[in-house]
């Protein structure tokens, strides 16, 4: 069953068409990657799904329910991006408590304990979030993003600017988390290894349109390239 269905989604900012009538769907427990050069419409697409931007036309259906003016599904969705931060002056534990309460998490103490354990947050729990390294901050953001056991998770470049070790920690965590939890994930990333490793399906975007799609293996074979990065470069440079 499709958890998220996008039909003919379009966003215009004046004359500029940021997203051009794109359609795709994500099933429960499926990870779909949005790939494309900067400014191709990935963030706008994610923002429309999150209700941050009103689409010009098209529809977003979540759990077979059409998204109206009021976003009915935010309590079961979540989002993480290194470009969106948690309150810097609050301690990690305080941020987790605030967001557990905001998402009305049942048995929040237990959930927070579990996140501390799984994301290795114990050593930084009483540190102010603003004093953490980018890797540590990323782990805390991820903890916030799954604090409500989301049915739909949107990740915007989750490992951008992380060292390989921390990046791998996050990817391994997401792989394991997905095995244990049924969750539809939309992943926007520029890291091709990450996309190959985490996603079940890839959407290649360029200038607001989906120009190709398929599994990573299928796309590599179809374009006769060695890896997804080469496919990306070919499509991005194609006139």
């Amino acid at each position: 069953m499709n958890k998220l269905e996008i039909q003919q989604l379009e966003k215009k900012f004046g004359e500029f068409e940021a997203v051009k009538k794109i359609s795709f769907s994500i099933a429960s427990n499926q990870t779909v990657a949005l790939l494309g050069p900067n400014g191709c419409g990935k963030t706008t697409t994610i923002a429309m799904i999150l209700g941050l931007i009103t689409p010009t036309s098209g529809s977003i259906t979540i759990n077979n329910q059409l998204l109206g003016k009021e976003h009915h599904y935010l309590s079961k969705m979540n989002f993480a991006s290194p470009y969106v931060e948690l309150p810097k002056k609050l301690k990690v534990i305080e941020n987790l408590k605030v967001y557990a309460m905001m998402y009305e998490v049942d048995d929040s103490n237990n959930k927070i304990e579990q996140l501390i354990e799984e994301l290795n947050l114990a050593p930084i729990l009483y540190k102010k979030t603003g004093e953490l390294s980018s890797g540590q901050r990323n782990r805390v953001s991820l903890a916030k993003a799954i604090i409500n056991d989301p049915e739909i998770l949107l990740l915007d470049e989750p490992t951008a600017s992380l060292d390989p070790d921390t990046g791998d920690f996050i990817r391994t965590f997401l792989e394991n988390y997905k095995k244990k939890n049924s969750m539809a994930t939309l992943l926007a990333s520029h890291n091709m290894d990450e996309v190959t490793r985490l996603s079940d399906y890839v959407l290649m975007m360029k200038e607001g349109s989906i120009i190709d799609e398929g599994t990573a293996t299928h796309l590599i074979q179809k374009h006769g390239r060695e890896d997804l990065e080469e496919v990306f470069l070919k499509l991005a440079r194609q006139k």
């Binding site: 966003k11 900012f13 940021a18 963030t43 706008t44 923002a47 999150l50 209700g51 941050l52 931007i53 009103t54 935010l74 309590s75 969705m77 979540n78 989002f79 991006s81 470009y83 969106v84 931060e85 948690l86 309150p87 810097k88 002056k89 609050l90 301690k91 305080e94 408590k97 605030v98 967001y99 309460m101 905001m102 998402y103 009305e104 102010k128 916030k144």
Partner: protein, 263 residues
Amino acid sequence: MKIKRILSLMLRHLYLIKASVPRIIDLIYWPTVQIILWGFVSKFFTMHSSYFNNTAGIILSAAILYDFLFRSSISYNMLFLEEIWSRNLINLFVSPLKVGEIVIALTCTALLRTLIGLVPAVLIAIPLFGISLLELGYPLILLLLSLYIFGITLGLLVTSGLVRFGPSFENIAWASLFFIAPIGCIYYPVEILPTWLQPVALALPLAHIFEETRSILIHHTVNYSNIYYALSLNAVYLSIALLTFYQSFKSAKVKGSLINVGE
């Protein structure tokens, strides 16, 4: 509307206040300095002005009430700006928090912030100048309510600007109350203003609130029509502010500026 979600945003700001002693000192320091300054000015006028000679405390009471308004509005703006500065707004907008819940949470937290700053200053005024706001009697509750609603109204209008135009609107946040102060008739009667400006002043709740404060302290009579006008005008302005706030959210979503508010 869920209480738990409203409390979560309040908790976020309480953690922030609790974590920083300089922040608490800052909250208390400015109202205290303001009240001590106006306390001495008030004392001077009491001794040297026939208008004020039998009515010690008019200026100081007005200063305290104005500071209550000022703190309410600034607190509301500060709480919203805090979310912008910490780049946390997107996290709030993509959470289940409704716009109405954000407004209520900020309104309640702004009151708490205002009281933290003002209560010590008001208590200091009692032994230092022999002046207590309680002399205004039970209408004080209605006057404070009126001021608080107007403070939140201004806060809502400024935050609407922040949502719509981004952090560049921040300077307006600081200046908003100074625009209105001259026609608020805080320290002088409406009649002092030029005739053409008097209707403008009377169209604001402030003129009625401070007229009533003077009426109680000078004539020892409560003129409920002033309170009625103040509350009615407040209802109109608050409705406009709420509509503006919702409209600015709607407009920001269409223009896509919501995702840039925190940058």
